[in-house]
C-alpha cells in the first residue's frame, strides 16, 4: 500500500468513526414543531434562501455555476433602472444616508426641530428599521415602529402580515434566526413612499433585496419586501 493510499484509508476510517445513530431528542422536538406549526407563515428569508437553493441546485447544475447570481444581479439592475428612470423624470428624489434621511413630505433639511420633537419623524422610523435586528427582539420596539394596522407584504414568500400582532409574530421568528438587514443604497422617495436596496438574511444567507415603505404619522403603514431571484 502506498503512503498516499495508507493516508486516504486512515482518513476515511477516522472520519467514519464516531456516532452513527442520531439521538431521539432533536427528532422529537422537530416533529413536535411540525405538529405545532402547520407551516411557517412567512419568510422572505426562508423562501429567498429556498429560491437560491433552487437556482444553485438545479439551474446551476444545468447552466453554469454563476447563472443564479447573474439572474439576481440582472433583475436588481432592471429594478434599479426603473427607479433611476423615475428619478430622471423628477417623480422621485434621493434622500441621504442612514443617519441623514430627510423628512418625508418636506424638502431635505427643512424639518423643524419642534416638529421632530413632537412625533417621531419618518426618518427616525426608517433609521429604527436598520437597528431593530441588531438588538434583542422587542415587541415594544416593533409597536413603536409600525402602525397598528400596518401591512407587511412579503412578496418573496407571497405572504402578507396584517396588523401589529402578525408583524410582531413574523419579526419575532426572524429574530430567532439572527436575521439582519443592511441598507446598501441611498433612499429614494416620493411623498410618503421610500425605497432602498438592502441585503438581508440570516448569517451566511445574505441576499440582495428591495424594500419599499409607506410612512404615515411617523410610522410604517405598508412595507413591501422584494428579493432577487
Amino acid at each position: 500500500m502506498t503512503r498516499e493510499r495508507e493516508f486516504e484509508q486512515a482518513l476515511a476510517d477516522w472520519i467514519e468513526d464516531g456516532f452513527l445513530e442520531a439521538p431521539d431528542r432533536p427528532i422529537r422536538a422537530a416533529i413536535a414543531h411540525a405538529r405545532a406549526h402547520p407551516r411557517r407563515r412567512f419568510s422572505f428569508v426562508g423562501l429567498g434562501r429556498a429560491l437560491m437553493d433552487r437556482i444553485q441546485m438545479s439551474e446551476v447544475k444545468q447552466q453554469g455555476a454563476h447563472r443564479g447570481w447573474l439572474v439576481a444581479v440582472g433583475v436588481t439592475a432592471v429594478v434599479g433602472a426603473l427607479v433611476i428612470g423615475l428619478i430622471g423624470t423628477g417623480v422621485v428624489s434621493f434622500g441621504g444616508g442612514p443617519n441623514e434621511l430627510p423628512a418625508v413630505g418636506a424638502p431635505a433639511g427643512t424639518a423643524t426641530p419642534a416638529a421632530a420633537a413632537a412625533t417621531p419623524t419618518p426618518d427616525e422610523a426608517l433609521a429604527k428599521m436598520f437597528t431593530m435586528f441588531d438588538a434583542p427582539y422587542s415587541p415594544a420596539q416593533i409597536a413603536a415602529l409600525y402602525a397598528p394596522d400596518a401591512v407587511l407584504h412579503d412578496t418573496i414568500a407571497n405572504e402578507t402580515s396584517t396588523g401589529l400582532a402578525e408583524i410582531q409574530a413574523k419579526l419575532s421568528y426572524l429574530s430567532t434566526l439572527n436575521f439582519h438587514s443592511t441598507r446598501t443604497s441611498a433612499t429614494i422617495r416620493q411623498g410618503d413612499f421610500v425605497a432602498f436596496f438592502e441585503t438581508h438574511g440570516e448569517p451566511g444567507y445574505d441576499e440582495p433585496g428591495l424594500v419599499v415603505v409607506q410612512l404615515k404619522d411617523g410610522k410604517i403603514v405598508n412595507q413591501w419586501v422584494y428579493g432577487a431571484p
Partner: protein
C-alpha cells in the same frame, strides 16, 4: 428517500415529515457530528436542520433532491453551531474511537493527530471533507450540495487533505522517533 413521503410532507403532512425525520436523522446527525466533533452541538444542529426542513420543504422543487438539500441544511446548521462562542472551547468531550487495531500505539497517536489537525480546519473545510469521505459524494456533488463552485470545493478538499496529511506524517515521524528512543 421516498419521493411520496417528501411530497406528502411538502403538502403539510406532519406524519410523513416524522417518517422522513426518522429516516434521515442518522445521516444528518453523522454529518453534523463529524463537522462539529461535539455530540451536544451536533444534536442542536440536527434539530435546527430538521425544523428548517419542515419550514422550507414546500419550496423544494424536486423531491428527488431531498437528500442533497437536507445535507445542505445540516451543513449550514453546523456552521451556525460552530460560530457560536458558547461551548466552543475548553469543553471536555467524550472520545469515541474504534477498538485499537494491531498497531495500537501508532493508531491511537495517528487518530489523535488527525483529530487535532481536523479541529484546526475551518467548518467550511471540514464540511467538504465530511461530505466527500463520510457521505461519499464526489467533488462536483459536494459543490452542488454546498452551493459553491466546483473549483472552490476542490481547493477546499485539497487544502484540508494536505493539512491533515501533514499532521499525519508528522505523527508518523514522532512514533518512529519514540520507538527508536524507547
Amino acid at each position: 428517500m421516498e419521493r411520496e413521503l417528501v411530497e406528502r410532507a411538502q403538502r403539510g403532512d406532519a406524519e410523513a415529515f416524522a417518517a422522513l425525520a426518522h429516516a434521515a436523522s442518522d445521516r444528518l446527525y453523522g454529518i453534523a457530528y463529524r463537522i462539529l466533533r461535539d455530540p451536544d452541538r451536533a444534536e442542536d444542529a440536527l434539530q435546527l436542520a430538521l425544523v428548517r426542513i419542515w419550514d422550507d420543504l414546500p419550496a423544494l422543487r424536486d423531491p428527488e433532491r431531498f437528500d442533497a438539500w437536507s445535507y445542505r441544511l445540516v451543513v449550514h446548521a453546523s456552521y451556525r453551531e460552530a460560530g457560536r462562542e458558547r461551548r466552543w472551547s475548553g469543553r471536555i468531550r467524550p472520545i469515541v474511537s474504534d477498538p485499537v487495531a494491531d498497531d495500537g500505539i501508532s493508531t491511537i497517536v495517528a487518530r489523535d493527530e488527525l483529530e487535532r489537525g481536523f479541529r484546526r480546519l475551518t467548518p467550511e473545510h471540514r464540511a467538504v471533507l465530511v461530505l466527500h469521505y463520510f457521505v461519499g459524494l464526489p467533488v462536483t456533488e459536494v459543490a452542488e450540495t454546498l452551493g459553491i463552485p466546483a473549483g472552490t470545493a476542490g481547493s477546499r478538499l485539497h487544502y484540508a487533505v494536505r493539512s491533515l496529511r501533514a499532521a499525519f506524517e508528522a505523527d508518523e515521524r514522532g512514533v518512529v522517533a519514540w520507538r527508536t528512543t524507547a
